[in-house]
Symmetry: C2
Subunit: 319 residues, 2 copies
């Protein structure tokens, strides 16, 4: 089959990759559409060691399911973590943190930038008929945005800042504006500001961010300068949620976290069911964020486009 | 009056310091007993710029209170932050974080290593008659220990680790053991282990701490190695509470906080009323922690003693 293959930080398009076979309890999915995210760009840069097929945001159809033939033909999206199910973390509900887990296109499991992928049936969620492929392909990052509200209640009176208005920052903004909170988004590019404006989401210039003002700051840039801005903007006893991964180590003044009693929370994957509900209800419109679609064989061009500053969501289409 | 005076990181004993006069709403307190803590040692090392009389843990008697003469003779302990009362932080309940605050013996307010100090009447709490001076002098650090439970509920089933069994670590251990949680304390010195044993608090060697095991880790050493140990010990989605201040900046892998969804919370001053209630009920026994008492004129010796590795609480007595 065709796939984008990463080997020693070298990404290549191949058309001779063996089609993956489903293990017990798994289904084989024919991918329709897949999205490139910052993690994929980071993997190509070597932030984490991974060799294999990249990609973890997708929508596709179940084409083979040895243990559940009635599922064939279902249009699905999929949770990316495949836990062992038997370790202490799995048994205490921390399945997404299972030490033996595989992760689609990230850790020991062939990913979604390919014609076919395999995932356990329990990872797959049927997509409501009214949710188009262009929307459904955003389910995974939208779920990650919702993880914020799994970890920390947003009060309608909260002053909330999102640092970064890229792919993930925009999705987070669309979820948080629904809470009624007093939201501002730091947006560097004109296109980002226009997108926020279409959803009536207030944006702010970097240099105009109020200091020690926000109850909650979401850091969605994954840069040390983004963290520094979050640190300046949060009020004493406020919360910073880290929503992106960072290259290497960051220098942090821990004493200032103590004296101002700041709460820093790391945040990763989130729940798919509410993400699909919000898409079905039309309360989130991620299709606005589509920058460009490329066929899989033009995957390298797609990655180049996705890596450009200010680029929004680049999709790969398997036709 | 006599006092310990810090000027340009030089601590001296003086007997010609003017007695401070209470402002409107303040009381003048004659200090009985005062405690030396890590913050005092840090101020002498120049971690924060402060010139003046050191000291913020004390018990004493109100001797002069222009607006409340009925209070004269009350034996009291005192909250150390004096907020402006009018700024945004003060009006939203963040009085301990008021930008214009003074802090006893730490920021623009003469401290407790002196015969007399002044604090607003509203900062002072009468000490129950059954609570001795040797216990009451621990009210401030005990309140700081209780701040942990103001910020994060401790479940009786939680696995909790305290890194550090010095002055503050011991007090925190005495408060957390009351919750019924599964508690372990990393104790470096034999004396610390014996103290913990007298309260039936389990201790553990540094090299025997379980990895990714604890729901909650309290970092009470204020060292980067203590933070590294806390980071190793906490489970995914677990919480690290930073209870000490750190010298300079620390290198932190923010990405690992994100992927493991760790919560890091800075924690500072706490509530006095529950600290006094626990002392009155005999549920906490900080007097075990008294290393040695020195008269104020031997203050420099007292500081030397307090700075020795493994030293517990050194007190200054004003006679």
């Amino acid at each position: 089959m065709q796939a984008l293959w990463l080997q020693n930080q070298q990404l290549t398009y191949k058309n001779d990759i063996p089609t993956p076979d489903p293990l017990f309890g798994e289904a084989q999915v024919r991918v329709r559409l897949a999205g490139i995210c910052a993690t994929d760009l980071g993997l190509v840069k070597g932030y984490y060691p991974y060799n294999g097929i990249l990609g973890h945001e997708f929508v596709g159809d179940i084409v083979f399911a040895p243990n559940a033939p009635d599922k064939i033909g279902e249009r699905v999206v999929g949770e990316i973590n495949v836990p062992c199910g038997t370790c202490h973390f799995c048994k205490t509900g921390l399945t997404n943190h299972c030490k033996r887990r595989t992760v689609l296109g990230i850790l020991n499991r062939s990913g979604a930038f390919a014609e076919y992928l395999c995932l356990p049936l329990k990872n797959l969620h049927p997509v409501p008929a009214t949710v188009s492929d262009d929307l459904a392909v955003f389910t995974e990052p939208l779920a990650a945005a919702l993880q914020i509200q799994e970890q920390r209640s947003i009060h309608p009176t909260d002053r909330v800042l999102i640092v970064g208005a890229g792919r993930l920052g925009q999705l987070i903004a669309q979820t948080l504006i629904l809470t009624g909170c007093q939201l501002q988004v730091v947006a560097r590019y004109q296109k980002q500001r226009e997108l926020l404006a279409t959803r009536q989401i207030p944006w702010v210039y970097e240099q105009a961010v109020s200091e020690k003002f926000f109850d909650l700051v979401i850091e969605a840039t994954g840069t040390s300068s983004g963290f520094a801005m979050a640190r300046q903007a949060v009020r004493p006893q406020g919360t910073i949620i880290l929503k992106s991964t960072y290259k290497g180590e960051t220098t942090v003044n821990l004493s200032s976290l103590v004296t101002e009693e700041i709460n820093v929370i790391g945040s990763r994957c989130g729940p798919f069911a509410p993400a699909l509900r919000l898409l079905e209800r039309g309360l989130i419109d991620p299709a606005l964020l589509i920058e460009e679609k490329f066929p899989l064989e033009k995957g390298l061009q797609a990655f180049e486009r996705a890596g450009q500053p200010g680029a929004l969501k680049v999709l790969l289409q398997m036709t």
